[in-house]
Symmetry: C2
Subunit: 209 residues, 2 copies
DNA sequence: TATATATTTAACCAATTGGTTAAACTATTT
DNA sequence: AAATAGTTTAACCAATTGGTTAAATATATA
């Protein structure tokens, strides 16, 4: 493999990433990818053999990116309240930089759930549960923790995925979507923290490492 | 138009609804729709002329259904806390019966946001805002209301849309998705209500009409 | 019952799509 | 420099796709 083909292969990969993120597998066309990469379509097959294999290479990269980001944030060692705030800040900043990623993943995993198989273990919910239990005291029931986590994800991801709808509805009230998402980085963690206050949750004031 | 063709047309429409919901516009095939309806493919064109027109008929019907459900629940006259509980119960029951609908709408409006134009006015956010302000007293800032509404929608819709992911992750901890969603009808409104308690929100105890 | 109208069928069509092929071109090795 | 290996191109291919056509069939009307 020469420097030239490393270049061609990555050009293809980048173009494919964009096109697949924008259109999904079903609507993406090999000719569109070739056009985006400014190469002859036959090269797609020379380097990646089939559309399916090219798609899988892209999906794997993007899903890894998304799940790793999620998992790493949640497993950080820090006081719980701070972790919630850090999660929203980090996760929503990540989503801001990758606005098409969640919708891409959701589209493809709804079509083909087995695509997820190799990524699920990256999110160890039992591990996260014990970390959360260790981080907080009070009467938060253990069975509430998955709900809490799903709520956290819901509050951060859904407004991104529903952008066209929210943009339309919010603009009726003179609210600008970008500004709304900006505020949300603050509002959403407040919301979560206040919601769990009912359990007399005291976040441990452990010294930070 | 005869009784027979009313029958054929609705058979086509129903089959198209299923196929478009399952696959979206890009991946749906006219032959698949014809097979699902047990008719000859040419009839799709006889009754609906083009794929695009058939899709639009289906999209309009489904989007109307979804937006009308959302809007009607939120404009109910009842005490706020009760409205939140009613919203989650009604909305999540609706989503349970139409599990593919949100993902279908999200997919298509992300691809083509102008599809939304005729439905946005069904959700009058300013109207909802004044209703909520009238329903509750306390110090909930007006600019927090859109965030509250988006949170409510996020908490109800996202777990449906993310079913494959949640199913995978939750099963690792021995949690069954269906049971999780069932619990959520109770957990999510609790969450919302507790979250806004910080504003010294008192829900009006107006007599029900 | 005969005629007109509407519906359905099966065959066909042009365009598009993912993929293949072999020649031309470029880079590397002997 | 010639031979070999690797990359790229442009043309081509078979299958699929949304759509069309005209004949056959069914239904409605006079």
């Amino acid at each position: 493999m020469t420097a030239t083909d490393k270049h061609t292969e990555s050009k293809i990969f980048e173009a494919a990433t964009e096109i697949f993120e924008e259109k999904g597998l079903a609507a993406a066309r090999m000719q569109d990818i070739a056009d985006r990469a400014s190469i002859n379509k036959a090269l797609l097959h020379y380097y990646f053999r089939t559309k399916e294999k090219l798609f899988m290479a892209v999906f794997d990269k993007l899903a890894e990116k998304m799940f790793r980001k999620f998992a790493s944030i949640f497993e950080e060692d820090m006081p719980f309240e701070e972790k919630i705030r850090y999660f929203f800040y980090e996760h929503m900043s990540f989503l801001e930089k990758n606005p098409k990623l969640p919708m891409f993943i959701l589209t493809e995993v709804n079509r083909s759930p087995e695509l997820l198989d190799k990524f699920l273990s990256m999110v160890n919910i039992s591990n996260i549960k014990s970390k959360i239990s260790a981080d907080i005291s009070g009467s938060l029931p253990e069975e509430a923790i998955p709900h809490l986590m799903v709520s956290i994800i819901s509050l951060s991801v859904f407004p991104i995925v529903a952008k066209p709808i929210l943009q339309g509805i919010l603009s009726q009230a003179g609210i600008e979507y970008r500004q709304f998402i900006k505020e949300r980085k603050q509002v959403a963690p407040d919301f979560i923290i206040n919601a769990i206050r009912q359990y007399n949750v005291q976040t441990n004031n452990k010294p930070q490492k």
